[in-house]
Symmetry: C2
Subunit: 401 residues, 2 copies
């Protein structure tokens, strides 16, 4: 008994049969005595198809019109799901983002949710209807439609759960939960019963994208209990919350991220402020830096190495070229054949020797480490891209079995 | 120079090429110094495809959800057209029905436009933007989306023209204007330069569906000058207004309507109130009657014959069956193999002998007339469906050449 928010992605509602499957999950939850708000994405490839239609006509169409175009996708899926729920004999009503009260910033294509006016949602819940809400979309102060960017439906779901003080926010996906490693690659990967927000955030940034990061950050901020579970197999998934049940395992996951470029700036002046000058130029262009390594200075020069998302690699090199011209330095190197392998676990805060055990596992597997970065709950290493899967398997074996 | 409303149907924006064609027409009008509001329907078969998607999931889905589903169609076409206009270097903004201020009644699927709040439209026109408005859709007092029924985009266009006091409302179609008869059937059919609202209304009800009737009625009420013209051929079309230029032709068109069933109720009592009792039963079920013929009473009984749309034929017979059981009568006959052929022309009000000339033409062509109905500006006859084309040709020859 309570208010449950359920979110289904595009593949979960891709066709009539899948829509009916979702309607069954939703009505089962409702019939157990819960109030239910369902957040859905556009069906299957609808969003991509709409984008392609727009690009065919005008590759440089304005973002406002692209948002107008894309938001039609969820409009279709919410009405279909509402009709599917009606067919199963439960009262349902679909609401577009603006009808559900999603007030957003004006940044078309990447709007932020400013607040949710819950008046309509409350009215429909009070009328005991299952409310089907269009994810990914809102309205700005000009009364124009906006979208929240990729993964925006997760954010919509968590935002509604927070605003409506829901008892739980269930994110249905095509996997059964959060695993200690990619189960398609590591056969003995284990599904976690519980995980903390911080752990799943680290896993997400490390390339094990189960949940959209913004949505987890929001869930953490408003203390919304999340559950990641499968829309195809009816069994409990993984609960994400502030303090997870202490598991026997020291680490909660091993993740691989191949979307990495390593850039080295050689022979920069070894003087105060050099790092600030270098990284502020990247920040000004909106390029996020991940791991940073600075060599010990010699002959008044040093080398600075950092990693960025591979899509930002070339632009970062351009920026560094202008840095060398204006500030000084002798050379730039870029390596796109690297991958980041990481272990995450709240447990390592209180356990020593985790790093040593990880490095030992990599050594035994003959994997060379080129950079290392650590935080309270994670250790990341940069390795050759071709060694990445081997590294994940070795680490997983060492820690989880 | 002025404010021009242009309306394009689904086939005019069916694909990227057609959308660019429409964008060219619109921007040419804009570059001539006009303010332009464009009303568009959903692309090609989009509305039918969306309806099919809904019916697949739930053939009895609520009308509210069907409206939510269908209105996604125009959302796609308006954003695509706005982007096409942007590509041609003109400023454009797309507006959904609710953004354009279309306040409607609550009747999902067949809502009436109550009023248009022109605030947003005025703002965009003042900013010298070409405004692309979603036809067919509005919003009701519950903040829910509604649709105006088939042909609703014509109504949207005329309503905007009336509310914004536009100088002209151009309805683009796949024909070059209004013809004296169907040009595919009658090779010497002539395009009319001008026609009155009443004439085009009669033509529309008679099966020569060029413009949606509600839109013409609204244009007449608010004195909006309409022009029916082709989106594919750039030449003047037919102007529809209160007083048309007096043409040399006595009649402005010959039309055929095969969507007719003739129903006869035999042997009803010849007493006052019988017709009322009979037709009020049909009215209660929303069945419209067209031509009515009542035989002269004999032996205290009479026969009542009337025509209805063929889709209502079976239901009307059912209703008549219950009428006979409850009120009296001896038999019911239905004939689905009939057609209505009509001539329309404001000129006939002041000219005698029009009916005689029409009947002579039909006699010469060996077409038998089974019913006759007349109004100030039209004469309709019911004939065998297989004679209909012959009848149209004979009448057209007699009057127009």
């Amino acid at each position: 008994m309570g208010l449950i928010v359920q979110k289904f992605g595009g593949s979960s509602v891709a066709n009539a049969e899948r829509v009916m499957n979702v309607a069954n999950i939703v009505t089962d939850t409702y019939k157990q005595g819960n109030d239910v708000i369902v957040v859905v994405s556009a069906q299957g490839d609808t969003t991509d198809d709409l984008i392609a239609k727009g690009k065919e006509i005008n590759p440089k169409g304005s973002k406002r019109e692209m948002d107008m175009l894309m938001t039609a996708g969820e409009q279709i899926s919410i009405s279909l799901l509402a009709m599917a729920i009606e067919k199963l004999g439960c009262p349902a009503i679909s609401l577009l983002g603006w009808q559900a009260g999603f007030n957003s910033s004006s940044a078309y294509g990447a709007a932020r949710i400013k607040n949710i006016n819950c008046e309509r949602l409350n009215k429909e819940i009070d009328s005991h209807r299952i409310v089907v809400v269009a994810g990914f979309q809102g309205i700005n102060k000009y009364d124009d439609l906006t979208t929240f960017g990729r993964g925006g439906s997760d954010t919509s779901a968590v935002a509604i759960a927070a605003a409506m003080r829901a008892d739980k926010c269930q994110i249905f996906t095509d996997v059964e939960g959060v695993y200690t490693a990619d189960p398609r690659k590591i056969p003995n990967a284990k599904k976690l019963d519980e995980i903390t927000y911080d752990e799943i955030l680290e896993l997400a940034t490390l390339g094990a994208q189960v949940l959209n990061n913004r949505s987890v950050e929001m869930a953490k901020k408003y203390n919304v209990e999340l559950e990641v579970l499968s829309s195809l197999v009816r069994k409990p998934g993984t609960i994400v919350k502030e303090v997870a049940k202490v598991e026997k395992m020291l680490i909660s996951g091993v993740a691989k991220d191949c979307d990495v470029s390593r850039i080295s700036v050689i022979g920069v002046s070894d003087e105060p402020g050099i790092a600030f000058k270098l990284f502020s130029r990247l920040a000004a262009k909106g390029i996020n830096i991940d791991i940073i390594l600075q060599s010990v200075g010699r002959n008044n020069t040093k080398d600075i190495t950092f990693t960025v998302a591979r899509s930002n690699g070339e632009e970062a090199v351009e920026i560094m070229r202008s840095f060398i011209e204006n500030v000084g330095g002798s050379d730039i190197m870029i390596d796109n054949k690297v991958a980041k392998v990481s272990i995450v676990g709240a447990g390592m805060e209180t356990h020593s020797g985790v790093a040593a055990k990880m490095f030992e596992a990599l050594y035994s597997a003959h994997v060379n480490i080129s950079m290392i970065a650590t935080s309270e709950i994670k250790i990341s290493v940069l390795v050759d891209e071709e060694d990445a899967d081997k590294a994940v398997a070795a680490i997983h074996d060492a820690f989880i079995n």
